[in-house]
């Protein structure tokens, strides 16, 4: 095929026909806006985002309800701790600090990566399967820019999903416990601003982590036309990684596995925050990101329209 034929990308509107140069380069921002609008118009995106927003609420309310039960009996029992009633640390699980972080960590294990994988699958393989990608490939958009737009779309999904989980957890925590129990694991009380700062770090970190999953998913997405295959591959990969991480004999391998990083989020509950594990997780995620994107780029540039 020839790149640069006077055709327009679908959904981006006609380029200015009067200026040939401008027709060759559609403004990136407009492509991006179109892509994002397209993503959030898909019902499945909205459904999974709604699910992500509801789960922290369910967790918070469920923990709160179970606490109400045994707490009364624990007062007559041998006190908190193993044996009598739940350890008091559990009650902190409903706080506006631990609930969002805990929900984020739990969901990062499976549901959040799958959300991102779904978006990546739709981005290339999905469009290929119903012919929409052909228009992109023929449009005056270079393959590199196409990948950039698609990756940015996935990045937006990753960010929105992580933010949604944390905001939902934060809101639930505020309703359940107010600004009480904003306590770090080191026993220091944290100010609201401090908590918000830590949650912001968590969202940023989770976005990078999810983007690493998204990049690998994009690479798969670029080489198939079945979006289902992308989601299944990511799911399979996560399960295989999970199994590998169970074996202590494979200790040496664990630092190479992406999900190893997730436990680093626990450090945000410590005070002062040790950033070592988070930084290591970021490097790991960026490594996966580079590998994924370069493979996706290689596959996309050699792909025929």
């Amino acid at each position: 095929m020839t790149i640069g034929e006077p055709r327009t990308a679908p959904r981006t509107g006609p380029a200015d026909a009067a200026v040939p140069d401008a027709r060759r380069r559609v403004p990136l921002i407009r492509l991006l806006r179109a892509e994002v609008r397209w993503i959030f118009r898909r019902p499945r995106t909205l459904v999974v985002l709604a699910l992500l927003a509801v789960l922290p609420v369910i967790t918070g309310v469920a923990v709160d309800l179970t606490l109400d039960g045994p707490v009364t009996s624990a007062e007559t029992g041998p006190g908190p701790g193993p044996g009598g009633g739940p350890p008091i640390f559990v009650t902190m699980a409903t706080s506006a600090f631990v609930l969002p972080l805990g929900s984020l960590m739990t969901l990062l294990m499976m549901l959040l990566p799958l959300t991102v994988a779904m978006a990546s699958g739709d981005a290339l393989a999905g469009e290929q399967s119903h012919g929409a990608l052909r228009g992109w490939l023929l449009a005056p958009v270079s393959r590199g820019r196409l990948l950039a737009v698609k990756a940015a779309g996935v990045l937006v999904v990753a960010f929105v999903a992580a933010l949604l989980v944390v905001v939902s957890g934060l809101a639930t925590g505020l309703v359940l416990a107010g600004t009480d129990r904003l306590v770090s694991m080191s026993g220091t009380e944290l100010s609201v601003a401090d908590v918000l700062w830590r949650l912001a770090v968590a969202v940023a970190w989770a976005t990078v982590y999810l983007m690493a999953v998204g990049a690998v998913a994009l690479a798969i997405s670029a080489s198939t036309e079945h979006p289902m295959l992308v989601v299944v591959s990511v799911l399979g990969g996560l399960i295989v990684f999970g199994v590998l991480m169970q074996f202590s004999a494979l200790d040496w391998l664990h630092p190479y596995l992406l999900p190893t990083s997730v436990t680093g989020l626990v450090d945000l509950i410590r005070d002062p925050v040790p950033f070592d594990a988070l930084a290591e997780g970021t490097i790991r995620a960026l490594s996966y990101l580079v590998i994924g994107l370069s493979l996706a780029y290689a596959r996309l540039t050699t792909r025929d329209g």
Binding site: M185, G187, R270, R284, I291, A298, R299
Partner: protein, 379 residues
């Protein structure tokens, strides 16, 4: 460049960069070469280490433990990932023991000490009388008034049974350090091969302790800093206010001492009487009678070695245990002139619990314990 070539280049370089990044984050920082430091004698090193006041620093310490402890209650006190230590250069310290999903925090300043366990959400406070504290400080300082004499005394005490020398240098937590080595004389019948202490060249603070047992090249116990940064610390770190809702238990140091004196003093005195030591130096065997509540005899030993943090940990982690059942599971039966009992051995030592309720323990092989028990009977 043709698209296909470009694709290959992109894929190849991307994978290379990614794998390099993974390898960098996965592999531990390469062991630095041993630094070259001015020569120093053992005595001089010990003197300077005693003389030095710990600087203000923050650091991360890690423990590796190949002791082969049986999984008894109390041993989980040693199950933690790393310890963060903050010290203000004077008397205030903050120690945070990080466990996978909880943390133990100890804060000591001039007026009080706090211990907080996030698992239990419980805090303990210990306060003391300023005069007593000052007196205790003076006493401690007087003891070390002349570090060179104190060092000479320590070395003199060790010399009959041990060789003590400076064995080159090491890089610990990125800092240059001397390795002070203590090895048993050949006549000592011990399971231990050597104990090394890495002492920072600049601040003379001990950075790492390693214990080696016979027949292994890796240390069976290593406690040392992996990060050590000298510098002023935030004063807020050394204040502790128990978080809202935490269970707080307060005690006065005097009261605790008095309580211990009243309650445990009798026991302690009796224990003193009931305990005998046989041998000296590395092959010392301690023979005692099992305390009624049979608290973690074996596990408490290494815990004590880890210092006060672990000591307090033991308090947190201690629980009921079925000692007899544990012994049967992990021990081997042994008998001699003293009668019969069960022998339990870990990498650095062993203990025999006799059927009539005595314990003989030491960093020695089984036969030495048996001989000690036999010898004790004849006395």
């Amino acid at each position: 460049m043709r698209p296909r070539t470009k694709a290959w280049v992109a894929a190849g370089s991307g994978i290379a960069v990614g794998l390099t990044g993974l390898a960098l984050s996965a592999l531990p920082a390469g062991a630095d070469d041993d630094p070259v430091l001015p020569e120093i004698g053992a005595e001089e090193l010990v003197t300077s280490a005693l003389e030095a006041r710990p600087p203000a620093f923050d650091g991360v310490a890690e423990v590796t433990n190949e002791l082969g402890l049986p999984p008894v209650p109390g041993a989980e006190a040693l199950d933690f990932e790393s310890v963060r230590v903050f010290h203000d250069g004077a008397e205030s310290t903050r120690v945070q023991i990080e466990r996978p999903a909880s943390e133990l925090t100890f804060v000591t300043n001039t007026e009080e000490a706090w211990a907080y366990d996030s698992q239990e959400h419980a805090a303990r406070q210990l306060t003391w009388d300023e005069d007593d504290a000052a007196a205790a400080r003076d006493h401690a300082e007087a003891e070390l008034a002349d570090p060179s004499r104190a060092a000479a005394e320590i070395i003199e005490r060790l010399r009959p049974t041990s060789d003590i020398f400076v064995d080159g240098t090491a890089s610990v937590a990125g800092r240059d350090a001397y390795e002070l080595v203590l090895t048993p004389k050949p006549s000592e019948k011990t399971l231990l091969r050597e104990i090394t202490v890495a002492i920072d060249e600049e601040t003379r603070a001990p950075l790492r302790l390693e214990v080696f047992a016979n027949g292994t090249t890796d240390p069976v116990l290593s406690l040392g800093f992996v990060e050590f940064e000298v510098g002023a610390q935030d004063a807020e770190l050394f204040e502790f206010t128990p978080p809202e809702g935490a269970e707080v238990e307060s005690a006065e140091a005097d009261d605790v001492a008095a309580e211990a004196g009243k309650h445990g003093g009798r026991d302690a005195g009796a224990l003193e009487e009931r305990t005998t030591t046989i041998g000296d130096g590395w092959d010392t065997v301690v023979i005692g009678e099992m305390p009624a509540e049979a608290r973690s005899g074996e596990a408490a030993g290494p815990a004590r070695e880890l210092g006060e943090e672990a000591g307090a940990l033991g308090e947190f982690g201690g629980g009921d245990q079925d000692l007899a059942g544990m012994l049967e599971q992990f021990g081997t039966p042994v008998s001699g002139e003293f009668g019969s009992g069960v022998h339990v051995e870990i990498a650095v030592g062993g203990a025999i619990v006799t059927d009539d309720g005595r314990i003989a323990a030491g960093a020695v092989p089984r036969q030495v314990l048996v001989d000690a028990l036999d010898g004790a009977d004849q006395q």
